[in-house]
Symmetry: C2
Subunit: 572 residues, 2 copies
Amino acid sequence: MTTIFDAPEEFATTALAGFSSIYARNVRLVKGGVVRSTKVPKGKVAVVVGGGSGHYPAFAGYVGPGMADAAVAGDVFASPSTAAVARVCRVADQGGGVLLGFGNYAGDVLNFGVAAERLRAEGIDVRIVPVTDDVASASAETPAKRRGIAGDLVVFKVAGAAAEAGLNLDEVERVTRLANDRTVSFGVAFGGCTLPGAKGPLFTVPKGEMALGLGIHGEPGIREEKMVSATEFAKLLVGKLLAERPADVRKVAPLLNGLGSTKYEELFVLWVAIEKELKAAGLEIVDPECGEFVTSLDMQGCSLTLMWLNDELETYWRAACDAPALRKGAIIATEPATDTLKDDEDAISFAAASETSRQSGACIARLIGEMAEALKQAEDELGRIDAFAGDGDHGQGMRRGSAAANDAAKAAVEAGAGAASVLAVAGDAWADRAGGTSGAIWGLLLRAWSNAFNDDAAPTDAAIVDGARRALDGVTRLGRARVGDKTLVDALVPFVETLERAFAAGKPLIEAWQAAAKAATEAAEATSSLTPKLGRARPLAEKSIGHPDAGAVSLALTARVAAGVLAQAAKA
Amino acid sequence: MTTIFDAPEEFATTALAGFSSIYARNVRLVKGGVVRSTKVPKGKVAVVVGGGSGHYPAFAGYVGPGMADAAVAGDVFASPSTAAVARVCRVADQGGGVLLGFGNYAGDVLNFGVAAERLRAEGIDVRIVPVTDDVASASAETPAKRRGIAGDLVVFKVAGAAAEAGLNLDEVERVTRLANDRTVSFGVAFGGCTLPGAKGPLFTVPKGEMALGLGIHGEPGIREEKMVSATEFAKLLVGKLLAERPADVRKVAPLLNGLGSTKYEELFVLWVAIEKELKAAGLEIVDPECGEFVTSLDMQGCSLTLMWLNDELETYWRAACDAPALRKGAIIATEPATDTLKDDEDAISFAAASETSRQSGACIARLIGEMAEALKQAEDELGRIDAFAGDGDHGQGMRRGSAAANDAAKAAVEAGAGAASVLAVAGDAWADRAGGTSGAIWGLLLRAWSNAFNDDAAPTDAAIVDGARRALDGVTRLGRARVGDKTLVDALVPFVETLERAFAAGKPLIEAWQAAAKAATEAAEATSSLTPKLGRARPLAEKSIGHPDAGAVSLALTARVAAGVLAQAAKA
């Protein structure tokens, strides 16, 4: 709904003043509208457009070089007065006459029409072109009865380009009428908009349905249907318009327009499907536009517009323009890139490694294989524990990540990688396949650990202990969790500290590791008595009290698995 | 809510593909992001930005000359993976290193941070700048804990301009950090957004309230308050930010950002009040922006961002750029207009009129005066009749319009205007002051009638009858109503036809007019038996059955008043 306003009756006037202040480079305010704030050549045909407010960027946003010379703005969803139209036209006229464009609505037809007669009586040559693109509003046999919707942008763009090119009023009128005759739109609404100060929406659409052909002021459409997928929706929109495709048309200028609350990402998703349909129909797409061009306050919905191009219309559609709503042409001169994008999905090649480092790499790969097997076994249990505090996907993520790390480590060993490289690629693969925060943390942990190794020699015991510290530093620096936050850090800190202390006290690595794994396990179990996890999901956090953290549990588990592998390796 | 999608899990990827197709001039698609599709000089610092999807134009819309070189896109409201960040950076790097910009969220800090380490290990110099503009998310004493919201656009704009200007990586990093240190934002939500495929909104805000400081992913804000007027709202937003104004700052770059469903007109209304507050604080406003720069799907709300400018930041803020989200600089060379706008509120001067035509003009003015008096008396009754089918304002409109016509006619008589001019200006004044469709119709009716007169002589009886036909033609041509539509036309048609028939049969004008007024009155009364008015307001139309049309009734009334005036004039 419309939320921000002072007095509702001043909404349209104040909005226009704010727009004029922001876009002072393009426009200046006159009573009832805006005119260009830049010099316009004497004798140039003035393109003046307008209609009700609440449709921004229609119509004030259309003013600028290459588009309109001025725009008249009525109250919200109401035609501007005859006087306002006449006043703005008088200011905009440069002696070349005025092309007056507006949507084909009773109030606009009346006020723009009367203003045109008044101006003609004053000696200003004025031509009117009501835009009639909405195929849902009347049959193809009675095009003059059709309403104007987002086709406004397309038709006025062509009019503006023709006037900018220096055509006289007869020619600008001819080209504008041609653009209108060859422009069709079909719109759909999913939800109503709310006028400033109104208690409820102007109309509603049943939940999960779409109102086909509903007008931009809530005028009745054709019928309501169940909402469909983007692909089906694209077929519906394109199908409605292709039914009116002239026989000789091979090129089309499409405009996909959001009505307010249907957002860009949705329109881009829809565009992918529309583009496919248009190409399947053998149409070449010229300068497609996708965004908000004719809105209806916060109405939910969109429309597709197609202009059937011929050479003349294509020229004016492609021409440069510089209005708030539409800017075409280069600001900074560039050339298209000609290089082929690097494909980093290729097999990684490894630096030459020494025999001892390669043997250590194979050992690391075995260790990761054991971890992957253990995490696969523990998947359900880890998921169950995670469900108390999170979305229960920790087990899946750990299984996916460790399996990917195992594959990558094995492939690296086969490719002759040394210890550092095997551990690094395992970490990268884990992060990339596991997803989520824990995947990134595990990738970081393994890669940071690998920085203590190299590919020239087998890692020393001291390097292994140093790696653990590096892993902890990386995880706490980039992961930002501290002990007590109920994360993997709660187990990792005692693991690393115990490992370092025991090793510094002269214990063999395997014993120090076993002690560290024990400390990690105890710490993981102790997380169940900690305060709930912080975060926005408060009900989930409360549920988690008394349950251990899944990340800490899985870290302890892998530490114990590694202890076993190290013990075996020490024996061998 | 988000309505258009195929599979929800493919939403972000498909949206990015659609964006890349529409903006092929700017970008090309790589796995997980987009890079510029234009040539970039070797050695230039690459500005790579990114974060979760659902915030368009953040972040893909920031790519283009003068702004970012590439953008990484995660899933909806989720950080991109480490691998995606690293992959996009590798493609974007031109040997000058990478400035990596993202909002300060745990997932992004982790993935962009890990990717930076990975890239450094590969020999690419990477600097990271997490944006921390949201003053609501942490105190001024702990800026590093603040989240990044719409300040992203401002900080990345400066970074892009610095890189485009050829600064090296150290310098680009310094300038970007400076921009971030001097950029503050405060956001407010009025309603939640809905993720693709989700059953309900991510969060809700109580109706009529606003959630201060709520994050762009629904992170908790400071508190909820009753919604206030635009003026009060502007004070709140500006006040929150001015509290952090550095002592020496005199210039500011403001960005007023809509979150999705809070639309342009609302933002423009708010901008008027914000501009006033900023100026009152002694700040010079540089290149303000108002629109959608960091959205949250269809979230309702907005944020205000201020960058405290110094000379260096002002240079980069003003620099040309050409990205889908922001274009600065001229496409078509223009000069500011230097003329002063014509003020058409000045007194109208009339063509010289003959004495007889001036006498007729005075008679017309008297006639309009009588009509105005009669319509003033009938105001309540006309309003009551109109309320059955419309909004009950017909009486008010007719009173306002006829009073304005009376004033204008009297003034014209005093200025020496002839018959045609007096009737014409009376019509114009009626249309401009009455408002609505009936005001425009009455303006048209009187002006069209005046076209049968001139200022050289008194109108003949034949000219008066001819004028009636012209009035009918104008009203039906531009008003588009037909007999039976329950409008003024239902009374005007029998009036004109009876007048013409009786006059053609040789009756004196006054008798013909009396017969015509009688026919109009009968026809107006007969509208009560007609079918309901067409239009979208079906319940109102149904209510109108059995009640006459107010427009037809008031036409008949004025016709009878005119008959009386004509009879008096004939006697005199």
